[in-house]
């Protein structure tokens, strides 16, 4: 069965004062139907740009290459009208900061129902559907709350409203860009649980962009680890996290503070993340890598299959879990 979305050799070039920056450099991965894929990496790794490229919301002047196959159709080369109609109805997105992502001068119900209203649904039908969506997103007293403005909602409620908004167009793929980063820790868990249950019940595919390994570990079936605009490693979440096939993934796993042990921050990753403006030659991770040797400085590794369903961009993938 072909995947719902296939990202193949995606390249995103952004203009900057320092010249053209390649923020995404040949990224490939698949999102199968009804599957959650976690996209993880440090800031500047190109994970958000990848998600924005998928929905077609990149800043002006961005140049793309590669392919984005949506149900087999290359939408990267589709005309702008086709790309626009994909948004909201087939691919929807929720954003990091729900307060900023909601229009401050419109009632929330109106914003959630906009896509329905614009597709010609009757007013009372829209209202009924918005109440359903609020209910689905776990917003209490939906028929009263839909008359509120965003500033009258709490942070968690706003993100729930944002989720209701994204579900309104009945999409097949939901992009979630750091959906819990701006929320209180106690609220984070509830929103993650909501996303997971919606994904399961509606048979949605989801691309969860996060810098937080724990978030991805809880929700994602598969994980794509990005570093400096490239894929470092991808595969099933549990396998990747328990037996990393890339030194960067291993470092990420080790840098997560374990609550029960005394060493709060066991092994922080040494060095600064590589920025797309100064990407090292060869393997971009080599300046921070404990396994690095001469070959890593000169030869850029390709992403190759290292086990069933496991892909790694390390020359010495076999040594990672052994060392």
């Amino acid at each position: 069965m072909s995947p719902l979305l296939s990202v193949a050799g995606l390249v995103v070039d952004l203009p900057s004062p320092a010249g053209v920056l390649r923020v995404v450099d040949g990224v490939s991965f698949d999102i199968p139907e009804a599957t959650t894929v976690g996209l993880i990496g440090e800031s500047g790794s190109g994970k958000t740009m990848t998600a924005n490229a998928v929905i077609g919301l990149l800043p002006g002047g961005a140049v793309l290459d590669g392919a984005l196959r949506w149900r087999g159709e290359d939408v990267l080369r589709a005309d702008p009208g086709r790309r626009r109609r994909l948004r909201g109805r087939e691919i929807a997105m929720i954003f990091q900061d729900p307060l900023a992502a909601l229009n401050p001068t419109q009632r929330i119900g109106r914003q959630v129902g906009e896509i329905l209203r614009r597709s010609g649904m009757r007013r009372d039908e829209v209202r009924r559907r918005v109440v359903e969506l609020f209910d689905r997103a776990g917003i209490p007293e939906p028929s009263r709350r839909l008359r509120n403005y965003p500033h009258e909602f709490s942070g968690g409620m706003r993100q729930r409203a944002m989720i209701a908004l994204a579900l309104a167009g009945n999409p097949a793929l939901l992009l979630a860009d750091e959906p819990t980063t701006a929320l209180d820790v106690t609220v984070q868990a509830r929103i993650l649980r909501l996303l997971r249950s919606i994904q399961r019940d509606e048979g949605l595919a989801m691309l969860l962009v996060s810098h937080d390994l724990r978030v991805v570990a809880h929700v994602a079936h598969q994980v794509v680890v990005m570093y400096a605009g490239r894929v470092a490693e991808r595969g099933p979440t549990s396998a990747v996290l328990s037996r990393p096939a890339h030194p960067y993934t291993r470092a990420l796993v080790q840098s997560v503070p374990a609550v029960r042990t005394r060493t709060a921050i066991a092994h922080p990753l040494p060095g600064a993340p590589a920025s797309p403006a100064r990407r090292p030659a060869g393997c971009a991770f080599h300046p921070r890598c404990p396994l690095a040797r001469e070959r890593c400085r000169s030869e850029q590794p390709v992403v190759r299959q290292v086990a069933d369903g496991r892909w790694s961009a390390c020359h010495f993938a076999g040594e990672v879990s052994r060392s």
Partner: protein
Amino acid sequence: MFRVIVKRLLTGVLVMWGAASLIFLIVRVAPGDPVTILLGTDASAEQIAELTASLGLDRPLLSQYLTYLTDVARLDFGRSYLLGQPAMPEVLERVPATAELMLTSTAIAVVVGLALGLLAGSRPGSIVDRIVSACTIALQSFPTFWVGIMLILAFALAFRMLPSAGAGTPAHLVLPSVTLALPFTAIVARLTRTSVAETMGEPYIQTARSKGLTERQVLAGHALRNSLIPVVTVVGLHMGGLMGGAVIVENVFAWPGLGSLIVDAVSNRDYAVVQAATFLIAGIVMLFNLVTDLVYSQLDPRIRLDGAV
């Protein structure tokens, strides 16, 4: 809402008292007096003393001020020294002409300024944006009297298309209202441009786009109202400020409004008329500010005038 309006009107009374007092003081501190102007320089000392007494100008300043205040409280500004008529009706007679000029100018400024601002602000950095920005900076820099004279030279004298002075027909309205509107248009255009460009960068605009809306729907449905909030404030406040511009424009184009009346009254030291006209203008400006605040709170639900946050 009602309580807020009442409260604002009460503070308004204080402001008006301050304005009335300031006018009283300025008019009397300014050099020149109405008696010499009325009688001419060759009047005898007895004539001068007699007229000064009959106008009440021989009384101490404080006593004059108190009489003035009690009269103002009854909206009685006394008689024009020059015309012998009650001052306020004289002033009110001139209001329609000025209102016509101001409303036309505001309409031009809002329509043209918004259009230019939207055009430039929705494509920041484009050629259109640069042309609009350059033009608006130029328009804002030219002094009003100079623009008026240039327009007269071009359209009234060189092309003979429009009358240069007077009032009565719509053609008479064109040059003065355009002159008054030009700097105002530039302000509205520049502010709209900045505000629209800023709003289009907000995350909720990305949300609107993620719903599959066209750029036009995004602009009209999400960006426009929010970017207009600061524009409304400036238009409201500037409409009061147009009064100042009207004084100059009305004199350049001999427009029979409040502005030309004030200039005449000041040069004749016609205290009653100056006081009545300035008091009225202060009242109008205050009213504009109040209306602006009310409209503002209607546009932005985050601002509640009730004071209960």
